[in-house]
């Protein structure tokens, strides 16, 4: 009854139907991403605790401390939202919103695994674009703008230095990262992430080992995680671009980092680790791609946390050196390799 009414409505008003469907999907997507990112914060604290022979959160919400993040979020929501006197107010206010919005742009084009229905693989993606890999790359780069907005508008020396560092680093690393994506696209004969995943009968991490390493390094840089967190090096420039933020705006900036970490890891899994590909698990074949996908994702996430707790931070000039002088030439080599191997296999 209801279903037929909806189909009828869809036939009569396709535009409104599309809008409503899009809004519903976006709402689902946003809430799922946020919840998963929260879990990710918890996972990081817990795993970090394990690496360092301590407990991590273990009070709020039972002995695993699962509700710790809820408590932290409530705290951030209820704290005073301070806007410094000298700040450029509109930019300052909008920077965290732009940050989160741009990450959501990435989320729109990323597939979150797939399900098998009637032997047919259906990727879970909101916008299945032809050029989604390119689009994701572009959207990821916009994030640097939001960090720069935050840093510049704060009217704070530390923040400004952090913002400068962010831009210098972004330019140095987006180029090799983009070249890596091109290499992947050449091998997969597509810029669509779903098709890139489906093209990986051999993981691209194996087919393009250099590209995988470069992409992983550039991704960590993009995420601003150790050893590339110069934009917010607390020991040098006191949290850098988000020094002046407090309350919910700080919460958004902080949270955005984890959302990007999640999305970036998903991108890495899709581009190089075969996405949701894997042998079909018999009884639960329906969600077997999801299982593979999440296994890979969690391994990537834990690896990122592992890197964070065990490496010191690069100096900013060393970061740009690495980007321009080593990664960029190597990514060109990788591109040549991808062209040759891609043509051979095609």
């Amino acid at each position: 009854m209801v279903l037929s009414a909806i189909t009828e409505f869809a036939a009569q008003e396709p535009k409104i139907y599309g809008l409503v469907l899009g809004l519903v999907a976006a709402a689902i997507l946003a809430s799922v991403i946020n919840v998963v990112a929260m879990l990710l914060v918890w996972l990081e604290r817990k795993v970090m605790g394990d690496f360092q022979a301590r407990y991590g959160p273990n009070r709020v919400g039972g002995r695993w401390g699962v509700l710790q993040l809820g408590a932290d979020a409530v705290k951030l929501f209820t704290k005073e939202d301070i806007i410094p006197r000298g700040a450029d107010k509109p930019v300052f206010v909008w920077a965290p919103i732009v940050a989160v919005a741009t990450t959501m742009l990435v989320a729109g084009a990323l597939p979150f695994g797939a399900v098998i229905i009637d032997g047919k693989e259906i990727p879970l993606v909101v916008a299945n674009m032809d050029i989604s890999a390119f689009y994701i790359e572009a959207a990821l780069s916009i994030m640097a703008i939001s960090a720069f907005m935050a840093g510049w508008s704060s009217n704070n020396k530390y923040s400004m230095l952090g913002a400068f560092r962010g831009i210098a680093r972004m330019i140095a690393y987006e180029v090799p990262m983009g070249v890596c994506v091109i290499s992947v696209a050449i091998m997969a004969h597509s810029l669509n992430v779903v098709e890139i995943v489906q093209a990986q009968s051999i993981w691209f991490a194996i087919a393009q080992p250099i590209g995988f390493v470069i992409f992983a390094i550039a991704l960590i840089t993009d995420l601003g995680r150790m050893p590339f967190d110069q934009t917010e090096a607390e020991e040098e420039i006191i949290a850098g671009y988000n020094t002046e933020y407090s309350g919910i705006r700080f919460g958004l900036l902080y949270f955005q980092e984890y959302i990007v970490m999640l999305l970036g890891s998903i991108l890495l899994v899709h581009l190089y680790l075969g996405g949701w590909n894997g042998p079909v698990i018999p009884v639960i074949s329906f969600i077997s791609p999801m299982i593979w996908f999440f296994m890979k994702l969690i391994i990537v996430l834990v690896a990122l946390i592992w890197v964070r707790v065990s490496l010191p931070r690069f100096r900013i000039d060393q970061v740009t050196d690495l980007g321009w002088k080593i990664l960029l030439p190597l990514s060109m080599v990788n591109l040549a390799w991808a062209v040759v191997v891609g043509l051979y296999f095609a």
Binding site: I238, R308, V309, P312, R313
Partner: protein
């Protein structure tokens, strides 16, 4: 080998009539009173002809009965010989002025500034007599003078005068209030000096330069001090250091306490080095009293000092690592965990983990407990193994090496000129260790190496610390093997400590370098003057020249590798 008597006779023949009084006591210390107008010539002579290239500090004493101020300059040599020259200069109390040694020794700067602001002794020829430890508003009060009465009994907040400046920010000043002027404790008009801020802002040359504050509250600082760097982009052009944010006036407090009451206060100089501070103070008073601790007590002191050195180096290295990495850098936490075992060993003897106030005049407070040897040997075995692991880890970590190699290089000559001591000096290829240079306790019987490195960079400083942990383990094992039975307190130590009138200087190898106590007694129950010559004060002074031209991130890597402790600077 040059002895103190050689130096004295050479001095007397080179400057007839200039040395007014002189004595050698104990064997390696030369005490001489020099005519005030000749002090620079004498020091120049000693520096150029007798290798006195280490300016170790200066102490000012207020002899109010005689109407005199005394300034004692402490000179030593970086390894050429073991003589310490303590040259005293007297100056009248009503117009005190002494010739400055800054022309001869670069690092005399801060020591003379401190005496100037605390006692009001002018130093002729000093390039920058600005307030260092005191706040600008307190200048002219001369708090270390014996006739300083202190402020009337109300707190700082009451005295602060609030003023909103044109930019809309609130400034506080501490002008003397009417009550204070009436009480006669402060002068009507304070001398005016350019403030720290005015001095550093005068250095800004171009549009692209700005001053970046690292401190007083900053992740890099181990306590509140202000490190301001003038940056052009990511490059540091000049660094400015302001200390005195937590100045406690420990030296003045100790003048108002009995000798025994001074021991717990020395703990608070630096919480990481309580036992060596105790040792330096008690050693100086023991020299005044003319007593010596029995052998067993000396062994116990050595064991505890070396244990304390291990824990200090572990924490110092670990804290430093969080500066070049992040606060969640794992080796930091591993080092903290290792340190727990050492702290347990210390606790089992002293009953406290940090501030143990354990050393007594002529001995120690407790004997070692049962099972201490096994417990310590187990802990040392673990520490050895872990330290080797850390060394391997840092050697194999390429990011760590990139950050540390060639950063903040101190050449041997610079290190000596800037007056640093301890691990940073030894990392600059200068084997200068009080345990060898000025053997105290029974270190002369111990077999150990003075660790040095050639490079003089941040990495070398950390390596020296890690290697010293291994050496300390070795020393403790020897001590535990050799420790004899016997009493732990010397006989005949009086209940009421009243040393004979006189002066004593005693220096030890603190975890961070040369720690010396200069104690002056007038035969009463309270010291006339206690001067703590700390190693970190010397590092801090050497920090700004070291930071010129580096990257902002290197500021952290250099300042951290010095293993600073603000508490000791702001005594």
């Amino acid at each position: 080998m040059t002895t103190a008597n050689d130096v004295l006779s050479a001095l007397q023949s080179a400057f007839p009539g200039v040395v007014e009084e002189a004595k050698v006591s104990p064997e390696r210390q030369l005490w001489a009173t020099i005519k005030p107008d000749k002090i620079v010539d004498v020091c120049k002579y000693l520096r150029d002809n007798h290798n006195f290239d280490h300016y170790s500090g200066a102490a000012g004493v207020d002899r109010i009965d005689e109407g005199l101020f005394e300034v004692t300059e402490l000179l030593a040599s970086h390894g050429a010989h073991q003589v310490v020259a303590l040259l005293k200069v007297k100056t009248p109390r009503d117009s005190p002025s002494v010739k400055s040694l800054t022309g001869l020794y670069w690092n005399a700067n801060w020591y003379e500034r401190e005496i100037w602001e605390m006692l009001g002794i002018n130093f002729e020829g000093h390039p920058e007599l600005y307030p260092l430890l005191l706040s600008d508003g307190l200048m002219g009060a001369w708090p270390w003078r014996k006739d300083y009465k202190g402020y009337p009994d109300y707190n700082t907040a009451d005295r602060a005068i609030e003023k909103v400046n044109p930019e809309g920010y609130t400034d506080y000043s501490f002008s003397p209030t009417k009550a204070e002027i009436e009480a006669g404790t402060v002068p009507y008009e304070r001398p005016k000096y350019p403030t720290f801020r005015e001095r550093e802002e005068a250095e800004i040359k171009g549009e692209s330069e700005m001053i970046l504050h690292m401190g007083p509250q900053h992740a890099v600082v181990p306590g509140p001090f202000l490190l301001d760097i003038l940056v052009d982009g990511e490059r540091v052009k000049k660094a400015f250091l302001d200390v005195g944010y937590i100045h406690k006036g420990i030296e003045k407090i100790m003048e108002n306490r009995t000798y025994v009451q001074g021991i717990p206060i020395t703990d608070r100089l630096c919480y990481m080095a309580a036992i060596t501070n105790n040792e330096a103070y008690c050693g100086a008073v023991e020299r005044l009293l003319g007593i010596e601790a029995p052998e067993r007590a000396q062994y116990i002191r050595m064991i505890l000092q070396e244990l304390s050195r291990i824990q200090s180096h572990l924490l110092g290295t670990g804290e430093f690592l969080t500066l070049i990495a992040s606060a969640v850098y794992s080796p930091f936490l591993f080092m903290i965990i290792d340190r727990e075992d050492i702290l347990s060993c210390i606790e089992s003897v002293t009953g406290a983990r940090i501030n143990h106030s354990f050393v007594r005049f002529g001995g120690v407070r407790n004997d070692l407990p049962d099972g201490f040897k096994d417990m310590t040997l187990d802990a040392l075995k673990m520490i050895r193994q872990k330290t080797e692991e850390y060394k391997e880890l840092f050697l194999s970590d390429s990011i760590y090496r990139k950050r540390m190699e060639g950063v903040g290089v101190l050449s041997p000559s610079d290190a000596r000129r800037l007056g640093v001591s301890g691990p940073p000096l030894r990392a600059s290829d200068t084997p200068y260790d009080m345990r060898r240079e000025d053997p105290y306790l029974l270190y002369k019987d111990m077999d150990f190496d003075v660790i040095t490195r050639k490079e003089g960079d941040s990495k070398a400083r950390v390596e020296v610390r890690l290697d010293e942990i291994l050496e300390s383990c070795y020393i403790i094992e020897q001590c535990l093997d050799q420790i004899p039975d016997g009493p732990i307190m010397a006989e005949g130590v009086p209940k009421r400590i009243k040393p004979n009138p006189g002066e004593a200087y005693y220096r030890v190898e603190d975890h961070r370098g040369e720690m010396g106590f200069f104690v002056v007694s007038d035969g009463s129950e309270k010291p006339v003057k206690v001067k703590a010559r700390g190693p970190v004060y010397a590092y801090f002074q050497a920090l700004p020249p070291l930071l010129e031209g580096v990257y902002i991130a290197d500021v952290v890597a250099i300042a951290g590798s010095m293993d600073a402790c603000t508490s000791e600077v702001d005594r």
